[in-house]
């Protein structure tokens, strides 16, 4: 799966959880999910569950903790997808 494709899918998943839509409009790989997009930290786990379902993967707890920016998240997803193949 291509990096851009993963990124696009991830953005669709996180959009309903975003509380700062202006920051979402300027989203880039360095965007911080909690700090920039103001996503409620309790909802991060729901994003992980949605990601797992969308990509048919399982993300371990250690990797979840590393999903801080868009780049971290895409890297984590790509690693899981690759491992699954």
């Amino acid at each position: 799966m291509e990096r851009e494709e993963v990124k696009k899918k991830l953005e669709e998943i996180i959009k309903p959880y975003v509380q700062d839509m202006e920051a979402f409009g300027n989203i880039s790989e360095t965007t911080d999910l909690l700090q920039d997009l103001k996503i409620n930290s309790a909802h991060l786990i729901d994003i992980v569950l949605d990601v797992e379902e969308a990509f048919d993967i399982e993300i371990d707890d250690e990797s979840v903790e590393k999903m801080i920016t868009v780049k971290d998240s895409v890297d984590t997803i790509l690693a899981c997808v690759t491992a699954a193949v």
Partner: protein, 426 residues
């Protein structure tokens, strides 16, 4: 400190109407919200009729964000929040996620078993070894205080924010608790309310106890008939009601609309002794509660113009009317007028007390007394105690009503009575 407490905002989601103005029209018209529910038939319920509020997806989007609409399984929380937000706006306040915290306003919002549908999904998930997939929104919907937690966050309340639960007296008890808190000076303003969800998992236990009406499956609108000879079991319902209670000075200072004053209230328990039990009220407790409320209001039993009863459409109606008569020392033509909103909406369980108090205030403020529908054939034991004309079968104009008493009784032998007085600017 002993301050006066008035009601400055109302909100309601009831089986016969969603929203205050529609509800006012519905109760004036004697509109039933009871329908046949096919699911109950499919599940082999003896009672297959119920009162469920009409809340469209479109309406939900006016009150909750997209994500919350998607995950909210607890209909009781939906009804409660809509009623609460409506009451808040009706009192003249805005709802904004970035409003300042209001340290002097709190919330007591009662519930029964609002989270049962969310809990059911969670139980299936856990049993299927999928606990890690439950997500973040199970706890807030299944904890008893889910509704007050939602309300407190939506409105930015900084005083006490809690949920009470006392079965069918929950709503009235919540109002009493808020009244006490303002009266004693611990808060200036409180959102008081209650709610309950609908569905077979809540109602199944009642169906099995044979306390629900099983004779009206083909005539749902006639199914709830408090004080009638036909009353043979209550019709289950769901919904939510909310009231903004406020210190009189605060209400006057900001020029708020005042629906009425709460001049007295009492809660107690019959201790499940004597004739009282888990399911039946001890008449000594009921009479004592009524008299305590009257005493705290500083009025005489003769000052009560009307009673909005608990009156569930069971054999308990006979006992309730008798308790009122004995407590007040009034009978026959001397008895106050009495009606039951449950005749139109069924018994909304934990939601009942607050919805019925909203109705009581609309009647007091609007100078009318709604019909107690399906009561034409009055129970002979009730007719021995009070005159037939004390139960309205059509809408009564009642501009002279100054004082209305509202009672609620619940499983566990718990009682609540609130005395509302018309607001006359003095």
């Amino acid at each position: 400190m002993n301050r006066r407490v008035v009601v400055t905002g109302l909100g309601v989601v009831a089986p016969n109407a969603t929203g205050l103005e529609k509800f006012r029209s519905a109760i004036r018209a004697g509109k039933s919200g009871i329908e046949k529910i096919p699911l109950l038939g499919d599940l082999k319920f003896a009672c297959q009729i119920a009162g469920i509020p009409d809340v469209s997806e479109e309406l939900k989007h006016q009150y909750f964000d997209e994500l919350t609409v998607k995950v909210l399984k607890s209909t009781g929380i939906i009804y409660g929040c809509i009623a609460g937000i409506d009451a808040w706006k009706d009192a003249g306040f805005n709802v904004s996620s970035d409003s300042d915290i209001d340290w002097d306003t709190g919330c007591v919002f009662g519930s029964g078993l609002t989270g049962v549908d969310a809990l059911r999904d969670a139980i299936y998930g856990v049993d299927a070894l999928k606990v890690r997939r439950l997500g973040s929104r199970v706890v807030e919907q299944t904890m008893a205080s889910g509704i007050s937690a939602y309300m407190g966050g939506i409105l930015g309340l900084g005083n006490q924010v809690t949920t009470n639960s006392s079965a069918c007296s929950t709503g009235s008890e919540a109002i009493t608790m808020c009244y006490d808190r303002i009266k004693s000076g611990q808060a200036n303003r409180m959102l008081a309310g209650s709610c309950d969800s609908e569905g077979p998992y809540i109602w199944g236990g009642f169906d099995s106890m044979r306390v629900l009406n099983r004779k009206s499956n083909e005539t749902p609108e006639q199914g709830s008939s408090p004080m009638s000879e036909e009353a043979s079991g209550f019709v289950p319902g769901a919904g939510g009601g909310a009231l903004v209670l406020e210190d009189l000075d605060s209400a006057l200072t900001r020029g708020a609309k005042i629906y009425g004053e709460i001049i007295g209230a009492a809660v107690n328990s019959g201790g499940q002794r004597g004739e009282g039990s888990m399911t039946a009220p001890n008449p000594d407790g009921v009479k004592r509660c009524i008299l305590q409320a009257i005493d705290s209001a500083g009025i005489s039993p003769n000052d009560i113009d009307a009673i909005c009863g608990h009156l569930t459409s069971t054999m308990g109606d006979v006992i309730e009317v008798d308790n009122w008569s004995k407590a007040l020392g009034r009978e026959g033509d001397d008895f106050p007028h009495i009606n039951s909103l449950k005749s139109m909406i069924g018994h909304c369980l934990a939601g009942a007390g607050s919805i019925e108090c909203v109705a009581a205030l609309l009647q007091l403020e609007g100078g009318f007394f709604h019909s107690s529908i399906n009561s034409e054939n009055i129970h002979p034991e009730i007719e021995k105690v009070i005159s037939k004309n004390k139960i309205p079968h059509t809408l009564m104009e009642a501009t002279n009503f100054e004082v209305i008493a509202k009672s609620s009784f619940g499983f566990g032998d718990v009682n609540c009575c609130i005395i509302f007085k018309k607001w006359n600017n003095n």
